[in-house]
Symmetry: C2
DNA sequence: AATATTGGTTTAATCGCTTAAACATCAATG
DNA sequence: CATTGATGTTTAAGCGATTAAACCAATATT
């Protein structure tokens, strides 16, 4: 026995298919009597409307696409990074509340995601992370409402949900300065023009400025945003030994690697080096000592993105919005006060 | 200018819609000449077929549902657990290679996932984790091909992808025994009938048996599978101080919490206690010391699940399959040899 | 009394695609 | 030379919904 269709329900209730549809959508007045009969039939047949068919006729899909970066072609590192998972979870949750489902795709080839968007008639897309310019160009063509998370793309076609990255590392750096540190290294991922890392460096510099501490180029260590890179940068730092007493890491995962690297070089945290991270990954609280870090409300990002996207879907003329979410410093055990 | 449809292509190429469809599907022979003209038109209009419409008529969806457990209603913890993210990533990847997209839903109310499955005409479902009996009963009704990952549900309707949990903890325990430990505690999550935790306890007992070490009920510490629980169980253990020298944790996250708990009680790993985990989370290698643990190939689980599911979709008469994936012990720094 | 309005329901077209069946051509067959 | 067979293409009927427009009673209006 195959799934019941609208027609089956109509037959059983002794009405036309249209009537059933109207009962379900409430777009026309239906007598209480027939309404009851239809609902009864729906119940009996355990009828569930086919969203595909509905979409075909309504020209929508109740489907939201989510694009996450694919670090390496063939690899799916982003899924291992709890940051992405947490945003995803949040998006899924809030979208579902509103009757939307999410279609995740981690594609490196932009083209392929574009195709997906059209094949599936996506009602909207949430793009997490930063991509090459070309990507934004292509995506724009789809005419699908799009919300960017954590992107500094300033094309006014897109809505934006971000944090103030510069302010975040400003907070981290200021915290160390207040604890008496003056020789503070900055660990970062690859600096791209207009990228997140660059912004975070900026905040670091601003804090130094404020405390009238000279910015030194050799205090900046650039690597990748991963654990191994943190280990390596820490190795470089201890080797160069310039009297540095603290580190601002532009990402928790870098900080975590750095702790290990320092440990390998016989140094301890916060004994020899104080360190502040950025992101507040779930792991960070589990370390010993706990990592002092800049916390962002990751799941709030997902929630806001969904809200904004749905608002746009409902009123397509919505002007570009940009929402900057709050940050806060979480003190744990990785920072020590010095004289 | 809206998206081009089959009809548009047909018009431009001067043929009927059916012809275009046949060119695309290759289900009828079409002369090279018209084929060329159609392809040219497709190119020009940048035509992409609408999968919804296609699905409506073909009675499929090229959509695979993935069910992940929702720890608490309203919470979405599973997404924060890197185990799930890694499996998800892998499923998405392999499904996409075969032209399928994945629809993730983390619902606690089984009913709601069932509805989703029917609304969207899912071609198949992959269920990760263990659920109440009732859930499997309901799911079966959908008649949709289903592959279970990490479930001991033995209803022969379902395919299964698992590891040998008992063997895993056997490996962990044997390793400690070989290193000279005889008083080994077992930290576990909640033991449910026929659940994963119970199986892991079994392996622990088997290893003890093999080494003719008496099993002691008071060496078993039961809690939840989360960090906090690990901390607490470690607290209990140190308080009871029964000469225990090692711990087998039935999950890495428990082990990680335990390390913290021991540290808080003034004990070190592996100095005072040796510890072996289970899962090999990404975090586990980043700890200091690294966690010795039982590694499973998480992404292989996703891959196998997709392969099996698609095989079933293609030949619906496929008898129930069960695949047990390999495990291996990864030695890091959390175990010390004793006399 | 004739007409307009309203509430409730059905008819039929449509969304974009697939596919069985019908239909042309043209070459090969008996 | 009529017939059969390939080959290539079109016609038209779905798939499961929505919805504008038509329809029918019954009631309200003038």
């Amino acid at each position: 026995m195959a799934r019941a269709t609208l027609k089956d329900v109509a037959e059983l209730a002794g009405v036309s298919a249209a009537t059933v549809s109207y009962v379900l959508s409430g777009k026309r007045t239906i007598s209480e009597e027939t309404k009851a009969r239809v609902l009864e039939a729906i119940e009996q047949l355990d009828y569930v409307p086919d969203l595909n068919a509905r979409g075909l006729s309504m020209r929508d899909s109740k489907l939201i696409g989510v694009v996450v970066p694919q670090t390496e072609p063939g690899e799916r590192l982003m899924f291992q990074n709890s940051f992405y998972s947490e945003v995803l979870g949040s998006i899924e949750y809030y979208a579902r509340q509103k009757g939307y489902h999410i279609l995740i795709s981690a594609t490196d080839a932009n083209e392929s995601y574009l195709t997906l968007a059209r094949q599936r008639n996506l009602d909207g897309i949430i793009v997490i992370g930063m991509y090459p310019d070309e990507f934004y160009h292509e995506m724009k063509k789809t005419q699908i409402p799009i919300v960017l998370i954590d992107s500094y793309c300033n094309d006014h076609y897109y809505h934006n949900i971000r944090i103030d990255d510069a302010y975040g590392s400003y907070l981290a750096t200021r915290h160390l300065l207040e604890k008496g540190h003056r020789d503070i290294a900055f660990f970062s991922g690859q600096m791209k023009e207009n990228g997140v890392m660059k912004k975070r460096l900026l905040g670091y510099q601003q804090a130094l400025d404020e405390f009238r501490v000279e910015f030194k180029g050799e205090y900046v260590f650039e690597g990748q945003i991963d654990y191994q890179s943190g280990v390596e940068l820490a190795g470089k730092l201890t080797a160069s030994s310039q009297g540095i007493t603290a580190i601002v890491a532009a990402a928790d995962i870098l900080a975590i690697g750095a702790v290990k690297g320092l440990y390998e070089a016989g140094k301890t945290v916060p004994g020899d080096y104080s360190i502040v991270g950025f992101d507040d990954l779930e792991i960070s609280q589990y370390l010993t000592p706990g990592l002092t870090t800049v916390k962002q409300q990751i799941s709030l990002k997902g929630q806001k993105a969904v809200e904004l996207l749905l608002k746009h879907i409902e009123s397509p003329s919505l002007p570009k919005q940009e929402e900057i979410l709050p940050l806060e410093l979480v003190e744990r055990g990785s920072v020590k006060k010095i004289n």
